[in-house]
């Protein structure tokens, strides 16, 4: 099994073509095994704890606009992953236009989110501080608005999404679009490196997306998922999982 695919360029010189798609299966299998192990572990060993009630007073967790952003982003990422993978796994759909349109949507919502987060949202609530790292090891430490895992997932996604966007936009300039014709490629090796980065980031993104979806579906975390749909969590859920002193909910 290869990690990187190599091909000869127009002059017979060996250049990087991209990431080996064998890794797609490695990622898929690894993610599945890890998550399955986690599920089994949680089912077998985790102590049964009563779930906090979702009734009662509601605390606003996500504004509608942020929820919309999340789901647009989720939709575009899933679309990108599906359309990007389909030709690799042999699904015959006319994927390319959907792929770059979804990519552009993702780019715009990420830009929107970044600006909004920087100026209109409580940006600090997503920053990872030294205290956050105590969380996993000390049950008494409760997080503010976002848990350590959530912040970790957010920042991992941030890095990966920016990576796929940056490399994806570069690759986008190499195909015909309504705004330009594809250019000549002076250095196929450089192009290959962009494909390699795009592919590698995609593989990681797939892994993290799988993890993210897994946790979103886990029973003890499902209220977060609900909050991403409805915007609120219950006060009980908040108290159980968060430190109100650190999360000044409106």
């Amino acid at each position: 099994m290869d990690i990187i695919r190599y091909r000869n360029n127009v002059w017979g010189e060996e250049v990087i073509l991209g990431v080996s798609w064998d890794l797609l299966w490695v990622v898929a299998v690894t993610a599945f095994l890890l998550l399955a192990a986690h599920a089994i572990f949680m089912a077998a060993l985790a102590k049964k704890k009563a779930k906090p009630s979702s009734e009662g007073k509601r605390v606003n967790r996500h504004d509608a606009i942020d929820r919309a952003f999340h789901w647009i982003m989720a939709g575009s990422v899933l679309t990108l992953i599906f359309t990007g993978i389909s030709p690799i796994v042999g699904i015959r759909i006319s994927w390319l236009n959907i792929h770059w349109i979804a990519g552009l949507i993702l780019t715009f919502v990420v830009i929107f989110h970044t600006i909004r987060a920087l100026f209109w949202q409580d940006f600090k609530s997503m920053l990872l501080g030294p205290n956050d790292f105590k969380e996993p090891f000390d049950e008494s430490v409760k997080p503010g608005k976002y848990s350590f895992e959530q912040k970790g997932m957010h920042w991992a996604m941030t890095v990966l999404v920016i990576a796929v966007i940056a490399t994806g936009l570069t690759l986008f300039t190499h195909i015909d679009s309504p705004w330009w014709e594809r250019p000549s490629v002076d250095n196929e090796g450089t192009l290959g490196i962009f494909f390699l980065l795009h592919g590698t980031a995609t593989l990681a993104l797939i892994a993290f997306t799988a993890i993210h979806i897994y946790f979103a579906l886990r029973p003890e975390k499902r209220f977060y998922t609900r909050s991403m749909v409805t915007g609120w969590i219950s006060e009980a859920e908040m108290k159980e999982n968060h430190d109100p002193s650190k999360w000044k909910a409106e």
């Binding site: 091909r7 015959r92 006319s94 195909i175 015909d176 250019p183 000549s184 490629v185 494909f195």
Partner: protein
């Protein structure tokens, strides 16, 4: 860069039953190569531009030979040669469009061994791709033809999706015009696919020109009676009148009653990766008399949404002209 003249070492299977052939093809999957007439096989292999472990020579399979009448038209075995098609009395009488198209393929010797299945399954002729370069179609990251200075006189003016190669087949457009059905067998059975869906463009699969997958064998082509004895027009314009692939070809089937076009199927070859159906033209001529004035009224309808490259603008007027000739019925 090595230039070769010898075939690479490989094994050869010569099954006589289609089931055996399917078994071998399925087992070898991507490493097996189906051979009918072989006229688009040996060049690839000699050039080392494509490789395979084994050739599966289908010519010994009797069930894939012959042309027979069916309840609704005819069935042409996949191994029927292009020469046989040009000489078959039924095809000449009822489906002369196909006979004409087959008769314009390559050269007599190639038509003598080249099969109908091979003609529709052949790979594209983009010269960059044929050189063995690692372009999109070969699994690479780019197209050498669609660039600011690419030499793309023969390439696509429609529906390019990264790859700008065109379908080289002369019989493909004719078969779509006749609403032929492609009979495909594989390990899980037989399926019948309209010719129109048999050809696929690079947007769907940049590495293949047909829906055939490893293990699939195109065993026969059925032509329904629908267009039997219709009014046909075929013309192929190529640089040289032997060997060369079409710059543009046209295959038209029309139902003309009292000089009025009641229905038609107008197909153009060599303008995109698949045979291109001109539905706008079909609609425009429906119910119109088949004459010069109807032809001229089309203007550049056929090519109006073309997207030419550096050197292939000529395909636009050429296809418009061929459409006019088909509609008015004379060169």
């Amino acid at each position: 860069m090595s230039s070769h003249d010898n075939m690479p070492e490989m094994s050869l299977y010569q099954p006589v039953q289609v089931e055996d052939a399917i078994g071998i093809a399925t087992e070898l999957a991507g490493r097996g190569w189906l051979v009918g007439g072989g006229q688009d096989t040996y060049g690839w292999l000699k050039d080392r531009a494509k490789t395979a472990d084994a050739l599966i020579d289908l010519k010994g399979i009797e069930s894939m030979r012959g042309i027979k009448e069916t309840a609704d038209g005819i069935e042409i075995g996949a191994l029927v040669t292009l020469t046989e098609i040009t000489r078959d009395p039924i095809i000449k009488e009822r489906y002369s469009l196909l006979a004409q198209a087959a008769g314009r393929v390559a050269s007599p010797q190639i038509r003598n061994v080249g099969t109908l299945a091979g003609n529709v399954s052949q790979d594209v002729r983009c010269w960059y791709y044929r050189r063995g370069l690692n372009c999109y179609r070969a699994g690479g990251n780019l197209c050498y033809a669609d660039t600011p200075e690419g030499m793309n006189r023969e390439h696509a003016i429609f529906n390019a999706s990264r790859c700008v190669a065109v379908t080289p087949s002369d019989t493909g457009p004719a078969l779509v015009a006749l609403e032929a059905q492609m009979v495909i067998q594989n390990a899980s059975g037989q399926r019948v696919v309209p010719a129109e869906d048999f050809f696929i463009g690079p947007n769907l699969d940049i590495r293949h020109t047909t829906i055939l997958r490893p293990g699939d064998i195109l065993t026969a082509v059925r032509i329904p009676a629908k267009w039997a004895n219709a009014t046909f027009y075929f013309e192929k314009v190529a640089d040289r009148n032997a060997w060369d692939f079409a710059l543009v070809s046209i295959s038209a089937a029309m139902r003309v009653n009292n000089g009025v076009i009641e229905d038609s199927r107008i197909m153009v070859g060599a303008v995109q990766a698949t045979p291109r159906r001109l539905t706008s033209v079909e609609q425009a001529i429906r119910g119109k008399p088949r004459n010069e004035s109807t032809a001229n009224s089309l203007g550049n309808l056929a090519s109006s949404d073309a997207n030419p490259l550096n050197y292939n603008h000529f395909k636009m007027p050429l296809m418009d002209n061929l459409v006019k000739r088909a509609v008015r019925g004379q060169a």
